[in-house]
Amino acid sequence: MNGTSFGRLLRSGALALAGTLATLSGAAFADTIKVGIIGPFSGPFALQGKNFQAGAEAWLAQNGKTVAGHDIELVYRDLPTANPQQARALAQELIVKDKVQYLGGVYFTPDAMAITPLLKQGNVPLVIFNAATSAIMNSSPLVVRTSFTLPQTTTPLGKAAVERGAKKFVSIVSDYGPGVDAEGAFKKAITAAGGEVVESIRIPLNTTEFSPIMQRIRDSGAEGAFAFLPSGPPTLGFVKAFSDTGLKKAGVKLFAPGDLTQESDLPALGEAADGLITSFHYAVSHDSEVNKRFVAAAEKAIGAPDLLSFPAVGAYDGMFVISKMIAATAGKQDAEKAVEAVKGLGWESPRGPVKIDPETRHITQTIYLREVAKDAQGRWINKEIASFPEQGDPGLAK
């Protein structure tokens, strides 16, 4: 009967509603710049996501929520585990619906790889706070990274490992981008230092039961082991299993990038991690004025000092980079100009002096060799014992 008039009514109603929404959001973002942060805020890796949040909020607490007259608003989106499809959907929605001008965060490489194809069309730069595979940087010119790569943190480990008296090594890595990177970098570094890798083991990303792996390490007859897994429950389980199955006592030396001994896991690991040699870009205990101020602000943001770990520093420096981008573009959305502005940018980070390499858009930084030990107050820390300044990413250097 009056189907058409009903349809018209519905449509005009919808239009009116959409119009109201549009004006509302238009008013809201006139001088507020939204930054979308994607990370694991719930689920098994929630602690890493909380560190993103703590780092970003520590930066805002120290520098204020306004950059060059523009308010910054952080929009968090939860991506509990590596899930490229969901990552893409979240990024798409942040760009299209929430109208973010910048994307930040991203814990896992597969998620970063799924997001990068959207950046050009959305005119949005992505500042990676963690995801650590070298190749991400090649997938879009609009990516800048403030974390580390596995070749970057692993390479100095080769010489140190051979110097400590082991010649034959077995390598164990998670079977995904960063794991493959770490395996390759370690093998190269060990061969250059005069050792050899006798067996390379790749385990599925979501492995939680490590005793069969420990048996394989034992059977390989290696004197040293190298391991990389993404920080979180897997690394905690691995280091515990390494000690519990008696490999540590049997004298097999474990070397790893610092992912395996993140500070938030050390209280739980305790003796199991004692003396473990790792190489990494940041230790919460790093001795500098900038770091002390950062740690104070970040501990306040995260609630308990024990929870603080390396993703926080990636997020903190990431926010610094984003603030420079906002200042350079005067708050206008121009991804290319924003990225151009931070190429070659150098500053004093809580981890030490750092610089955005103009070629690779990856961060150049000091890599430290550390040993798990107790500090004066009896807390377990990653004690820095040597440093390798101005390390670029060997995985990207051609």
């Binding site: 805020f41 719930s42 968090y76 798409q92 790889m113 599925p204």
Partner: protein, 335 residues
């Protein structure tokens, strides 16, 4: 369930075709109003449609055949990976990709069905979990083909009919998905009411009696598995085209379990129940996760428990009850 069939049998057979057309029109209307009302959420709505296809396919197996399954994502993932791999290797026509996904899903359905139908009840459920885990591990291991944990990316589907591009805003993907859903829903409505569909229902409610009628159950159920696989594969292929990424998540136990939750929420054994359940569950999850990205899972869990406690027959079952109550009262008033 026997109750429900009795009810629908007792109800006057009011031109089922007409009712189907009204149902389809309602879905189209809801879909189009989604397009008008949430123009910034189309990527999410497309995901809803693709998962709705998965839940529909699960309903065919669980709701119409009474086969317990917690591994339906195997079929969905097969469709998604097949479409993704085909797209990377140069087949970019979206309609062709959907067909490839449907065929891959159907073939996987044939195999998983052949295995699962060897058992009944709980062992069957365990088999379904084992199958999806196996496929998950296979996809993880064959990283040269599927990208493994890094996901399959780099797809560039051609514009639909050479005109409508699959872009960041997702308009063409959504409308394409909506059309697919309508077509699939129409076909499934016919199938579940056909003699074949009736036999499936009979097998669910009284297998002994059906076999006494001289019908051999295995090929009938296997046929439904193949149809279910084609539907799930279509959903997977749609997801692959719309997001242009396929991850291991699409062949996971988690997705299978979520699909079952959505089905139970909407009401088992009704096609529209599958749709309602998917929309409500995903909308709930989506809004709550955006409002509080840190503790959203707790809230979603609480709401689910509440729904299962207060609407044990699913939302569509409760709607049916309300409708029955209203018509009874209306009928009395009319007299």
């Amino acid at each position: 369930m026997a109750n429900a069939t009795l009810q629908s049998a007792a109800a006057p057979r009011l031109r089922p075709l007409g009712r189907d057309l009204i149902g389809l029109a309602l879905i189209a209307l809801a879909g189009l109003s989604g397009y008008w009302l949430f123009p910034d959420n189309l990527a999410f709505l497309t995901r809803v449609i693709s998962v709705a296809l998965l839940v529909l396919s699960l309903d065919l197996v669980v709701g119409y055949c009474g086969i317990a399954s917690l591994g339906q994502a195997a079929l969905y993932g097969a469709g998604a990976y097949a479409a993704g791999i085909a797209c990377i290797n140069g087949i970019t026509d979206p309609i062709l990709l959907i067909l490839i996904g449907a065929v891959a899903g159907a073939v996987t359905g044939l195999f998983t069905g052949a295995v699962m139908l060897r058992a009944h009840g709980l062992p069957q459920l365990v088999l379904s979990i084992a199958l999806v885990q196996l496929l998950h591990e296979a996809a993880n291991k064959a990283s040269w083909l599927t990208g493994g944990s890094d996901g399959l990316s780099g797809m560039a589907p051609a514009p639909l009919f050479g005109v409508f591009e699959f872009d960041l805003w997702g308009r063409s993907a959504y409308l394409f998905g909506l059309c697919l859903l309508l077509v699939v829903f129409a076909v499934l409505s016919l199938i579940v009411r056909s003699p074949f569909g009736m036999v499936c229902r009979g097998l669910k409610e009284d297998p002994l009696r059906i076999s006494a009628l001289g019908i051999y159950a295995f090929p009938v159920l296997l046929k439904m598995f193949v149809i279910s696989g084609a539907v799930a594969g279509t959903g997977g292929a749609l997801a692959a085209i719309a997001t242009q990424v396929v991850g291991l998540d699409s062949v996971s136990f988690e997705l299978s379990a979520n699909a079952l939750v959505m089905l139970v929420l909407g009401g088992i054994g009704h096609l529209y129940g599958a749709l309602i359940g998917t929309v409500i569950f995903m909308a709930l999850e989506h809004t709550v996760a955006a409002i509080n990205p840190f503790h959203w899972m707790t809230l979603v869990g609480a709401v689910l428990i509440a729904i299962v406690l207060f609407a044990p027959r699913g939302l569509s079952g409760t709607l049916d009850q309300i409708a029955a109550l209203l018509t009874r009262r209306g009928g009395r008033a009319g007299r």
